[in-house]
């Protein structure tokens, strides 16, 4: 359970840092009036949906941290046979990088009010993401073709489960992206889409980061890292 604990420490640190700015030492019974310290007056207000996305990402992060915890615990059992390296995963990962890059481009397009470029960039991001999903499916297909099916080893089971859950999150993101694309066709003013676009981009980069961690885990590099951590802990 060390990876989820580590994750919680990170979340806890962010939470503590935020709380430390909330005047928790204030003595509200002595303070009347609206003077000072209420949110948003002096600092630039962050849209609620951004905060919402941030917290959602924490939830998704917890989910994957727990999966990784489970993975590393199960890995220690004697029947674990690691999945052979899937070189295909490299180009597939590249597709997700491209998708995120396209969203960065979309952000720029939204800022410069270039509606046509914005549309193109968003569609490109969606297509790259779909290609990524297809690539993942292909990797799984190949595994089953060489006889590494879901059930014959826990390493395979995790491989399928992790890729599947990550893919589901991409799919969810695609729904949001689809809505944004739909909105580009209904408005003439790219300014109104800036928030949606940047939310999509944040989500994409987060899923990319998660994927890189999972990738490291599945190909076994993380194993060495985990081993070191375990040594440090004991």
């Amino acid at each position: 359970m060390s990876s989820i604990i580590l994750f919680l420490v990170v979340i806890g640190t962010i939470g503590a840092w935020w709380l430390s700015k909330q005047r928790l030492m204030a003595k509200p019974w002595l303070e009347e009036g609206i003077h000072g310290g209420f949110p948003g007056l002096e600092s630039s207000p962050v849209p609620a949906s951004k905060i919402g996305l941030g917290i959602f990402l924490a939830v998704v992060g917890a989910l994957f941290a727990l999966l990784i915890s489970a993975y590393s615990m199960r890995m220690q059992m004697s029947d674990w046979r690691p999945v052979p390296n899937q070189t295909m995963l490299w180009p597939v990962t590249g597709l997700l990088v491209m998708s995120g890059a396209a969203l960065e481009w979309a952000k720029v397009a939204a800022r410069t009010r270039d509606l046509e470029a914005l549309k193109a960039a968003l569609v490109a991001a969606g297509l790259f993401a779909l290609a990524f999903l297809a690539g993942q499916l292909l990797v799984l297909r190949r595994l089953t073709e060489v006889g590494l099916v879901l059930t014959n080893n826990p390493a395979n089971s995790f491989f399928f489960l992790i890729i599947g859950l990550h893919g589901l999150h991409i799919l969810g993101g695609l729904v949001a992206l689809g809505r944004t694309i739909y909105k580009t066709h209904r408005t003439r003013d790219p300014d109104r889409l800036r928030l949606s676009v940047s939310l999509c981009a944040t989500y994409w980069h987060f899923l990319l980061a998660v994927w890189l961690v999972l990738f490291a885990l599945l190909t076994g590099w993380a194993e060495d890292f985990v081993a070191i951590c375990r040594q440090l802990l004991t």
Binding site: R23, W29, F38, G40, A48, V59, L66, A70, S157
Partner: protein, 591 residues
């Protein structure tokens, strides 16, 4: 999309909202069924959760009938008993208490108490309820599938949960897992709303340290739930894989009826870790809102500010953080490294410190207060007593050496029913008696309420107190029948019969409450805007019950914390949060 206009609010809601920006329901259906108004969603959540609560109550009756009068009711065989235990436990913990505190009270109170018009993402909020309802329907469906609901115990431990010896192995367990997965997805949508509304939609002047403790409790609990439920989700998904697709995440190699199953190598302990990583915070997800609510009830009905407000807030936060590092105290008997046992025992006992602080502060709030023994106050007092009671036995169980012999006896059943069964339910009743006037504009009937209170409070003790004793005698939990247990004297059976009779009486007495809720809705005494003379914001709405948008054209401005009662020199014995600071005669200080 409806959540767009609120997005544009940014961190600080403007004082006035142009009419067009408010989401307006267009028909009866969007107003009362697929509603995006947090208040309607709150009622929907509460009504659903309470119906499930009644069902879970009936299940507990059936169990009690079997325990009190064994082998009289032929339809309660061992299989049915396990199914009842499981469904009762899971329903009560997840589908009743969590849904009621967060989905019910959270939705109703957060926007009103922080001075917002609604939740920040109303559409997701609506989806949250409908997913919850879907989860409930799927859960109930398991009563009607072949083999019936799962009988694995609410902890759903593998491997037995999906082996053929366990009731509901074919369909029940799958429906349970699917229902939980849907519940968690739905909750996440709601939870994001509760948290972000507190963060981003507070009225001007409402600093965090001016929020009522109810909001602090629900806020912290929601945040915890957001981080804890994923563990249950991962566990449920993996178990579903094991059951449906034949993976071996949790399943060791097994021989069943002389046949070697295809499972192998899996780790049941892994599931226990995941389950309790969710399960322990869950206890506080239920307790923290109750703490917050009780703090507010006590303060209002004792006409005193809450003692040590800051400490109360810190304690809530500390409990929230600590409760994530104690989960393995549920696994003392799973054969863990003694050093881990020591660590978890210590962290468990440390949680007692902030909890004790809260209790002292409640008592000090009451101290020399102008206590009005209203119904909410009675329930709040009963909550404190009960919580102390359950907390003390918790200290016993938190110690490894004491827990090992008591584990899996009725003592444990008595303990957790006190802390997380009876106590939260008392807080819920108190809260309903307190806020019902705001929700409906009418008071609940006092006499009926008092009858309800005394039967429930005393009855709960008559039910659960003797169970401690049974547990010390060694009567095991989750046993359908005691059979030939030489160490259990005959008198235990008499006691069991007594408990059962009390459970029937207490359960039936709840009808008084439901009758009261319905009757008062039509015939209750009109309540006015602020019958309790409370200072917090939800009592200051221009209309009661608050209409869509809560505040009319102009959002409130907050000038003080929520606890200005009996302020020396003030005109009345409470000062509402949104009352502008009195213009004092100009003094030197002001110049």
């Amino acid at each position: 999309m409806v959540d767009v206009p609120l997005d544009t609010f940014g961190g600080l809601p403007p004082p006035e909202v142009p009419d067009v920006d408010l989401y307006h329901p267009k028909s009866w259906v969007t107003k009362y069924v697929f509603s995006q108004d947090a208040k309607v969603i709150a009622i929907q959540y509460s009504a659903t959760a309470m119906s499930i609560g009644l069902l879970a109550l009936v299940l507990s009756w059936l169990m009690r009938l079997q325990l009190g009068f064994p082998s009289i009711f032929s339809f309660i065989d061992a299989t049915a008993y396990y199914q009842f235990v499981t469904m009762h436990g899971m329903m009560m913990v997840v589908y009743v208490l969590t849904a009621l505190f967060l989905g019910g009270f959270g939705n109703y109170l957060i926007p009103l108490m922080v001075g917002a018009r609604d939740m920040v993402f109303p559409y997701a909020n609506m989806l949250s309820y409908w997913l919850y309802l879907l989860a409930v329907v799927i859960l109930l469906a398991s009563f009607f599938v072949p083999g019936g609901p799962t009988g694995a115990g609410w902890t759903l431990y593998p491997p037995q949960a999906i082996l053929s010896g366990t009731p509901g192995r074919d369909w029940g367990i799958m429906l349970m897992l699917i229902s939980l997965i849907i519940f968690i997805i739905g909750f996440t949508m709601g939870g994001l709303n509760y948290v972000v509304t507190v963060l981003q939609a507070r009225a001007r002047g409402m600093t965090l340290m001016r929020m009522p403790l109810t909001v602090w409790g629900i806020f912290t609990a929601s945040f915890m739930a957001l981080l804890a439920f994923p563990a249950l989700l991962v566990g449920a998904v993996m178990m579903l894989f094991d059951r449906l697709l034949g993976t071996s995440f949790f399943m060791p190699s097994l021989v069943e009826m002389g046949e070697h199953l295809s499972y192998g190598g899996g780790s049941p302990i892994l599931f226990q870790h995941l389950f309790w990583f969710f399960g322990h915070p869950e206890v506080y997800i239920v307790a923290l809102p109750a703490f917050g609510i009780v703090s507010d009830l006590i303060s209002v009905h004792a006409r005193k500010n809450i003692f040590g407000y800051r400490m109360m807030v810190w304690a809530i936060l500390a409990i929230g953080a600590l409760s994530f590092v104690v989960w393995a105290h549920h696994m003392y008997v799973s054969g863990m490294n003694p050093y881990f046992g020591f660590f978890f025992a210590t962290s468990t006992l440390i949680i007692a410190v902030p909890t004790a602080i809260k209790i002292y502060n409640w008592v000090l709030t009451l101290w020399r207060g102008n206590i009005r023994l209203t119904l909410p106050m009675l329930f709040a007092l009963a909550f404190i007593v009960t919580f102390i009671n359950g907390g003390l036995t918790g200290l016993f169980l938190g110690n490894v050496v004491v827990d090992v012999p008591l584990s899996d006896t009725m003592f444990v059943v008595a303990h957790f029913h006190m802390v997380m069964g009876v106590a939260p339910v008392l807080a819920i009743f108190g809260a309903i008696y307190h806020w019902y006037p705001k929700v409906t504009g009418r008071m609940l009937d006092e006499t009926l309420g008092r009858i309800h209170f005394w039967i429930t409070f005393l009855g709960a003790y008559l039910i659960f107190f003797p169970m401690h004793y049974l547990g010390l005698m060694g009567v095991p939990r989750r046993y359908h029948e005691m059979g030939e247990m030489a160490f259990v004297p005959q008198s235990a059976q008499t006691l069991n019969a007594f408990i059962t009779v009390m459970a029937l009486i207490v359960g039936t007495a709840q009808m008084v409450f439901f009758f009261n809720v319905v009757w008062s809705y039509f015939k209750g005494k009109p309540a006015g805007h602020n019958p309790w003379e409370a200072a917090s914001l939800e009592w200051q709405t221009p209309e009661t019950p608050p209409p869509h948008g809560n505040w009319g054209r102009e959002l409130p401005v907050v000038y003080r914390w929520a606890y200005d009662y009996s302020v020396p020199g003030a005109a009345s014995d409470f000062v509402p949060q949104n009352q502008p600071v009195a213009s004092r005669p100009a003094s030197d200080e002001d110049r």
